[in-house]
């Protein structure tokens, strides 16, 4: 019962937080000069005063701030995120269309970063002080220091222009019109550059973490005992040490998921990857406010839910955490 009360209290707090975030987002967007009608009129090549007034009326941007906010909050409460004025399509449907591409990119990058990063880190810890460990350190330093858009552009220049073996952008080759397995292979082909770029920065983080964690575990008493008992070194590393060394990596990977989503915005823009990040970027430039607000709300929901789940799990896993706070 105590847990249920906490969950309910946390849910109420999360709902309040989401309302606050929505109001803040709405206000910030409202404060910016110009609006979607300016964008539409710009693309139309101009319009009469009457047309502009009619567009403002039709899109509801002629109303006062509070009235617009109340209408928006009322709609969101009813589950309606509004309509993208630019695409003339429901915001929810636009977001749903883009989610698969973003999820594919982020998960692939996460897997690359985890597998490669951990492997490099473990090997560097296994052979400390050698040339391999130095190389891993160098790669980590580079991955950590280079901005993701810059490393993306460099990879693009190298592998899509100088040695053109990978496509420069997009999700799949619409010209080929491939279906089934061929289309899946084509998507994988297009995924290589963006996923590698996004993975680079996290790969650096995980390799350093795995290296440090592995060094610590390899120096612990139970590893020394295993070695003393004559357990082969491969088994010591893989079976005894690696499992424990991975714990902090997995914990950080979970926490870094939202950072990876943020990184996806830049990567999707560089590689014209049709995901949520690119949609967010375009909608900001076009002042497609309903769409911006919808994407921001979705992000806020994801982060809030993630925090809520983590919070509850911590309490379940570690009863020492107070249940009344």
């Amino acid at each position: 019962m105590a847990y249920l009360a906490i969950v309910l209290r946390r849910l109420a707090q999360a709902a309040g937080l989401l309302v606050a975030v929505t109001v803040l987002n709405f206000t910030l967007i409202h404060l910016a000069p110009g609006d979607i009608v300016s964008t539409i009129v710009g693309e139309m090549g101009g319009a009469s005063e009457e047309t502009i007034a009619e567009l403002r009326r039709a899109y509801g941007v002629d109303r006062g701030y509070l009235e617009q906010l109340a209408i928006y909050l009322g709609r969101v409460a009813g589950g309606d995120l509004g309509t993208s004025i630019y695409y003339n399509k429901a915001v929810f449907s636009l977001i749903l269309d883009r989610i698969p591409a973003t999820v594919l990119l982020v998960l692939t990058a996460l897997v690359i970063a985890l597998v490669v990063g951990t492997t490099l880190g473990v090997l560097a810890a296994r052979y400390p002080g050698g040339w391999f460990a130095a190389c891993v350190n160098l790669v980590s330093l580079f991955g950590f220091s280079a901005p993701v858009f810059w490393s993306g552009l460099m990879l693009l220049l190298l592998l899509a222009s100088a040695i053109p073996i990978l496509p420069p952008g997009g999700f799949y080759d619409v010209v080929a019109g491939a279906q089934g397995l061929a289309k899946a292979l084509d998507i994988a082909h297009h995924l290589v550059l963006p996923a590698t770029t996004l993975a680079l920065i996290f790969l650096a983080l995980y390799s350093r973490l795995a290296r440090a964690s592995m060094l610590e575990v390899l120096g612990s008493d139970y590893v020394r005992t295993a070695r003393a008992k004559g357990v082969p070194e491969r088994v010591v590393v893989v079976k005894h040490a690696l499992r424990n060394a991975l714990l902090p990596v997995v914990t950080v990977a979970g926490l870094q998921f939202s950072a990876m989503l943020a990184g996806a915005v830049l990567v999707e823009t560089v590689f014209t990857w049709p995901g949520l990040g690119q949609l967010a970027f375009e909608s900001i430039l076009r002042r497609d406010n309903q769409l911006i607000l919808g994407i921001l709300l979705l992000s806020a929901v994801l982060v809030t839910l993630g925090n809520l789940i983590t919070d509850i799990l911590y309490r379940i896993v570690d009863p020492r955490i107070k249940t009344d706070g």
Binding site: A32, P33, G34, D35, I36, S38, T39, I40, V41, G42, E43, M44, G45, G46, A47, S48, E49, T51, I52, L55, A58, Y86, Y87, N88, K89, L94, L156, A160, S161, P164, I165, L166, P168, G169, G170, F171, D173, V174, V175, A176, G177, A178, A182, L185, D186, H189, T269, T272, P274, Q278, L279, E282, L285, R287
Partner: protein, 513 residues
């Protein structure tokens, strides 16, 4: 892995060639494909392939038959009779009738942003299925141009006449026309697929099975795809720095032919209501201080052409005999002295702000930055004011809250459509971008434009516009800088490129390999 990927790619390329596909690359992402209610080349390019129009124009500015196989003016130019071809069908199989033409004209009149384009049209009568008579309140010399693909798609009344707002009609992104290609698929911001209209009313056309528009986020991404030969056709390319690379790439050709009617002019607009710019001597001083040769030859690497007036040189109404404002700093300083704008501390006569449209750096930001040292030579302390996005810039300029701003404005074929709006005193409208945001007012100019707008005699009309050009160049509400350079980058094997006055904003039904 690499070999596998290459094999897959090669397989895809083979499929693409077998299906005779034209891949059209652009950074211009449309909101929708209905040019009756939306201007801009983003909509016009695909719109002209999907929809047919009553007329089309050739490269010599002459009207040519399209859905209308003949036409004639009646009633002293106040009526236009259009006779339609008998075999045109919409992509859903329904015949194209005079009712559809009438519906389309009235829809465009009510909803197209260029209100002057069809303002004279009162109604369209349809005495038979193949005859449409456009009745006008006064002669309207631009009417034939207004019935061409960039402005007047013939919409199926049985679809668009359902009472829904045509500007937000659900079929605007899933359109039905009677043009050479039919709509197949659109992924917003990614691609548009058009398929050959096998029942196209012009026999033997079009020549491609499919046209795929691929949308790119910026010119860099598009240029990479062009160099990789993934794109066959890229009209309206304006990034000058990349042109030499394309010219050196085997298999790629570059041309500037086609699209002359669009007439894009890059200029520096002056807010004539603000002091001291309300004094024509101050405006002239600014014009004399700007070195257009430097802009064209240095900033643009010799790839643009200087603009000297409000009408682009390719137009039949162009007047080259206007003041050229060759750079003359001494004369500019003298004019400012005469205007009473004396140098103060540090030689500064006046502090001013220059705005620029965000986006095309070469045409706007670089010029705005150049003006800083250049106008300092005549005592202006310039602050270059950046805008983070188009709406911010549009709000400042549309709201008349600027001193000087760079801008790119298009002629759109006939001065009635694209030129009058900038100079008519009746078009000084607060909050409306690309109206007379300079607040320029001259009754003589109003009268000349009003007369030229209804004059049916071509020579007399030209004379009226020549007088107009002389006056506005002399009074400098705008300093004309250069013509926007539009290149077409294409696969060298392509033939019959769209090189009429509308370029790729017209049907590409003759283009082939």
């Amino acid at each position: 892995m690499r070999i596998l990927l290459l094999l897959v790619a090669a397989g895809f390329a083979a499929v693409a060639n077998a299906q005779s596909v034209l891949v059209w690359g652009t950074t211009q992402v449309p909101r929708h494909f209905n040019p009756a209610v939306q201007s801009g080349i983003a909509t016009m390019m695909p719109g002209a392939q999907i929809f047919a129009s009553p007329l089309r124009f050739d490269e010599k500015w002459q009207p040519q038959p399209y859905l209308a196989d003949s036409w004639s003016f009646q009633d002293d130019g106040k009526s236009l009779l259009l006779k339609l071809v008998p075999n045109a069908k919409f992509h859903d199989g329904k015949p194209v009738t005079a009712e559809d033409v009438a519906f389309s004209i009235m829809t465009a009149k009510a909803n197209h942003p260029f209100q002057s384009m069809l303002a004279a049209v009162e109604r369209v009568e349809t005495p038979s299925e193949r005859i449409a008579v456009v009745r006008m309140s006064q002669p309207h010399p631009a009417i034939l141009l207004a019935l061409t693909p960039p402005f007047l798609p013939v919409l199926p009344k049985h679809i668009y006449g359902d009472g829904a707002d045509p500007r937000n009609h659900a079929r605007n992104t899933n359109p039905v026309g009677s043009g050479a290609y039919r709509f197949a698929e659109y992924k917003p911001g990614e691609h548009l697929i058009l398929e050959k209209n096998k029942d196209y009313f012009i026999p033997g056309r079009p020549h491609f099975d499919r046209i795929i528009f691929k949308y790119f986020k910026d010119a860099n991404a598009l240029s990479l795809a062009i160099e990789r030969k993934e794109i066959h056709f890229t009209p309206f390319w304006g990034e000058l720095a990349m042109i030499p690379r394309f010219e050196k790439t085997p298999g790629i050709a570059v041309t500037q032919k086609g699209g002359e009617a669009i007439g894009p002019i890059n200029w520096l607009a002056i807010n004539t209501k603000k002091k001291p710019f309300d004094d024509v001597r101050v405006r002239k001083a600014i014009a004399y201080a700007i070195d257009r040769d430097f802009i064209v030859k240095k900033l643009h690497g010799g790839r643009t052409q200087a603009a000297i007036g409000p009408i682009a040189p390719a137009s039949p109404f162009y007047n080259p005999a206007v003041e050229a404002y060759k750079v003359d700093i001494a004369r500019a300083n003298k004019l400012l002295d005469e205007a009473g704008l004396k140098p103060g501390a540090g030689g500064v006569r006046h502090a001013l702000t220059v705005d620029f449209i965000p986006g095309n750096r070469e045409m706007h930001q670089n010029i705005a930055e150049y003006l800083k040292p250049q106008l300092k030579k005549i005592g202006f302390e310039v602050t270059v004011r950046a805008a983070p996005d188009f709406p911010t810039w549009a709000k400042r300029v549309g709201g008349h809250e600027f001193d000087l701003t760079t801008d790119s404005v298009f002629n759109w074929g006939d001065p009635v459509i694209g030129v009058h709006r900038t100079y008519l005193s009746s078009n000084i409208r607060q909050g409306v971008i690309w109206s007379n945001t300079q607040s320029y007012a001259n009754p003589k100019v109003d009268e000349l434009l009003s007369r030229a707008g209804i004059e049916r005699d071509a020579d007399k009309r030209k004379a009226l516009y020549q007088d107009f050009q002389k006056i506005v160049v002399d009074e400098v509400p705008i300093v004309y800088l250069n013509l926007l350079p539009y290149y077409t980058i294409h696969d060298a094997t392509l033939k019959n490129l769209p090189q009429t006055i509308w370029g790729a904003c017209a049907p590409v039904d003759e283009m082939r390999r």
